[in-house]
Subunit: 568 residues, 2 copies
């Protein structure tokens, strides 16, 4: 059996290695267009920023290792350009010499990945405009930054002299855009991030993104939301300029594109392979395309969303690796199947992190699904009495009808990954919020709290579903009667106009101040004292509801401009 | 309804607060023998070491808060001394005045906790011998250490002068013993830890404990395993001396007892409450004792082990809190039930951590359960190409028959809590190792790897169960043919006598050196290359098996005395 694998990074490399383990006799050829196989694409921005110092660190494996350990014929600088599915052949071009050869195959696996989107803007091909996909891309960025003096004229006074600081414009507020913005700032550049949408980090909901937007702004990134580039040009000083659709001009020394990626499907199309509605290669749950003996894996394919059943594009290394394994299994005659993806992901932000798993509220709304509720909680990353605890912001979405956990989003400076991992496991196994109440996670004061944030989310959600704690969100308060149960000192810092303040500890003695004919919407800093207050009020015959997340949520639901500062 | 709760820390305080939320009209009295309610008992050792600086940080709540927020009559310095279940009364003694009053109750909740074991040794009551349970205990330890010059005569040369260093002897290698040893070392004392058993950290298996033993030894703790104290005495210089059963004498300035805890059952016994076979109060899954209207929660009770169904004693804050909630629910007329415990726990060790969940191998052996297999893996805490990655050691135990995950133990300097949390979720939901192969956890290079350690454990285990990779452990090698597939440079550092070395990359060309009539036991550094080798050998008709964990496991299975140094 002769198997050709197109693409030598996550999905392709995993497939090749797995296939060899399953079949010692197969002839395996793995071709990679670029100069390296199995490189650390997730590390590229950190190489630009200097956190990963050596270029060699980015090379996880090499042609020699594939040959030696796996007896795999790995070919770099080798581009697959055309498939003839009837003849079962593929044309391979040596990108250095231009020579084209035709190889036959018994099985073909496509793992071409996804290409950075390069919008069709005037000036997009000017020198100094970069995408970030390969090792050569980041080498070119480092060379560009190292070679040129600042031409964009950003003056900066250091305390005893004025220096010219380089500027960068990053277009796009997803993974690559944010990681590049952080790393360019880390290098000392003045960084402007332009984002077309009204939020950064598309996979999370806008109110959660608000925290991240504030945080990167505090760190020094100039963030422009609802802003689209119209063109890139060179000014008289020789600097680049990004011109927005609104006509604003941003001079810069470098433009980095982080708009997103598009599945590479050109090669697949030469074989008449079906492309799905999202623009990715369509495969079944065994990674088979519609063409016999041709499989596809990784960022180039559409996968089923585990939660919604929808086709989606997920450009993540973990799923790509698993798909590669499954394709290898199937080629070797096994019955492995891909269960779909739940889209668990994380992005680092200046030492903090934002992570998510499962379904978000935007998607539920788009699907017209109203059988859900959500809670916002703000627990400490570990016991408050042990030094170094940081506040986390967590949104947990669950089914109203049966309590099933649908999704979770979290951010903060410590322990975000751990909590989203736990939610990801819960979602994988169809857990309910009642299950999360019982979850037993590691606790010592430096690692967590006796009630972990995961327990806590479950308890709050279960309180709602059991009818113990009606809940309201800041965008639903209507003409409800607002009751603030915080201390007077807290109100001095920030308060909500029109809200009556009765400190929780005085509530039982002041019930006569509250209306019996209106919904009383209670809030505190994060929701715990409001919960206690709601319980008191309900048992005294009032209609009461807890505004989820209290002042912490209010600040992201209603006040885009202010920075609470407590979260980070 | 009048409810009296005995004990005002984890279980009692949770019960009291929850009950108030459920029942605004109940009269709730919470009595605590000591001077503080709701104190941070898990933080006590870190207060001794100075990491938690302020005594006030240990006081999570207070009598005033219980009164104000919850309208709970919280009484400190109030010891419950006798229950009359027929009359439904309890006698309460003011520990300051000695005054005894009798209170009636409708429902009684016992949350007396567990007392540190004080072995009946000569000298156990000498000044300078301490247990660690309450805030006054640690205040006394700090005062003792602050007040006295070293009498035990440990001379230490600082580089320009000789100083007399204080010595400490800690008895017991569990949570309190290890945390106190670390904190005393942190204070500059010379610390000796005496442990009766042949390993520290009883809930993990001995080979995993071996890493921890090496690590704390490297950090400077003098560890004596298989050592039992016989007496404590004062020597002529006025210093304390711990004399072991073997007759060795350890002079010291302080003795800290960390031998374990024993459920406090004296009060329960006055009410004729049933005590279980493990010495704890016996309750049903609604926290009811055998006496009508008397409940018990927390460290004083026996709980069902979620995995084995056995009664066990679990002195942990998380379970205590949940039990308190359940007792409150049941008293308020709800049908909540305790699902048992899976014993998830973590201990910090000099910035590293050791954590576990589910069942350990010792327990399986004790139960005569042979339907299990185990894997040892040594993944990085995050992508190796991103700075700061640390090796983790993970043992995962699973059912041979159906792949169900039974337990996991992990240790390392980073990300131990996160991985054990994921395993804990998996176990809660009855996951199999095949499920773990599919698990989708957060990945970015600073947080993990595309294949997380949890996926990796699942893949290795599934390889075994599918018959793709037979496995052997170092204590089962018998007369197998040992094949080391590492590089020559690695052998120069450490090697296994009698093993043939063929570097993996040369294996296919040297198959004729291997016997066809013997089991070939393959190993490398941690098991990955050995896996590749086993696959090659099996497909070429050899009987081959991977020695799980390779050299990393060999060092703890077979070599107690050496320090590999790579893990930490």
């Amino acid at each position: 059996m002769k198997v050709i694998i197109v693409g030598g990074v996550a999905g392709g490399a995993s497939c090749a290695a797995r296939l060899r383990r399953l079949d010692e006799t197969a002839q395996i050829i793995m071709v990679e267009r670029g100069p390296y196989v199995s490189y650390a694409n997730c590390g590229l921005p950190y190489y630009v920023g200097g956190l990963i110092e050596k270029q060699s660190s980015l090379l996880v494996s090499d042609v020699k290792t594939f040959q030696g350990q796996f007896a795999i014929d790995a070919r770099v600088n080798c581009e697959a350009i055309k498939i003839a599915p009837e003849q079962k052949t593929i044309d391979l071009r040596n990108t250095l010499t231009g020579e084209v050869i035709t190889e036959s195959y018994d099985k073909l696996v496509l793992s071409p990945g996804a290409a950075p989107i390069r919008p069709n803007l005037p000036g997009i091909d000017l020198p100094g405009v970069f995408s970030v996909r390969t090792v050569p891309d980041v080498i070119a960025i480092k060379e560009w930054l190292g070679a040129n003096q600042s031409l964009s004229g950003m003056e900066s006074y250091t305390g005893f002299q004025t220096v010219i600081k380089k500027r960068a414009v990053v277009i796009g507020g997803g993974f690559i855009g944010l990681e590049m913005a952080e790393n360019l700032l880390h290098l000392g550049l003045d960084v402007t991030l332009i984002q077309r949408d009204s939020q950064i980090i598309g996979p999370i909901d806008p109110e959660m993104a608000r925290y991240c937007e504030r945080f990167i702004t505090e760190k020094g990134i100039h963030l422009l939301l609802n802003t689209e580039p119209a063109s890139i040009q060179k000014n008289v000083k020789g600097a680049l300029e990004v011109v927005t659709k609104a006509g604003e001009v941003y001079p810069t020394d470098i433009v980095v594109l982080g708009i997103g990626v598009r599945p590479e499907t050109e090669l697949a199309k030469t074989a008449g392979i079906e492309i799905g509605q999202r623009g990715g290669i369509r495969v079944d749950d065994q990674m088979r395309t519609n063409q016999p003996d041709i499989f596809a894996v990784g960022d180039a394919i559409e996968v089923k969303d585990f939660m919604t059943g929808e086709w989606s594009l997920i450009a993540l290394a973990g799923p790509a690796n698993r798909q590669g394994r499954i394709a290898a299994d199937v080629i070797a005659g096994r019955d492995s199947r891909y269960r779909g993806t739940q889209g668990t992901a994380i992005i680092g932000l200046f030492g903090a992190a934002c992570a998510w798993t499962g379904i978000n509220e935007k998607t539920l709304k788009r699907l017209g699904d109203t059988d859900y509720e959500k809670v916002y909680i703000y627990p400490n990353s570990h016991a408050g009495y042990y030094p170094g605890a940081k506040m986390l912001a967590i949104k947990c979405i669950f089914r109203k009808s049966d309590g099933r956990v649908l999704g979770a989003q979290a951010l903060g400076q410590d322990g975000v990954d751990k909590r989203i991992d736990a939610f990801a496991m819960a979602i994988q196994f169809g857990a309910t919020v009642y299950d999360l109440e019982e979850t037993e996670l590691t606790y010592a004061p430096q690692f967590g709290s006796a009630k972990s944030p995961v327990n806590f989310a479950g308890m709050v959600a279960a309180n709602i579903l059991r009818g113990d704690m009606p809940i309201t969100h800041w965008d639903q308060i209507g003409d409800g009667f607002l009751l603030d149960v915080r201390h007077a000192e807290e109100l001095a810092v920030e308060s909500v106009p029109g809200a009556l303040n009765i400190d929780l500890v005085h509530l039982r003695d002041n019930l006569d101040q509250l209306p019996r004919d209106r919904q009383i919407l209670v809030f505190c800093r994060s929701g715990q004292r409001a919960h206690y207050a709601v319980r008191i009020l309900m048992q005294h015959g009032f209609q009461a509801s807890n505004i989820s997340g209290g002042m912490m949520s209010q600040s992201v639901f209603l006040r885009k401009d202010t920075v609470p500062g407590t979260l980070y």
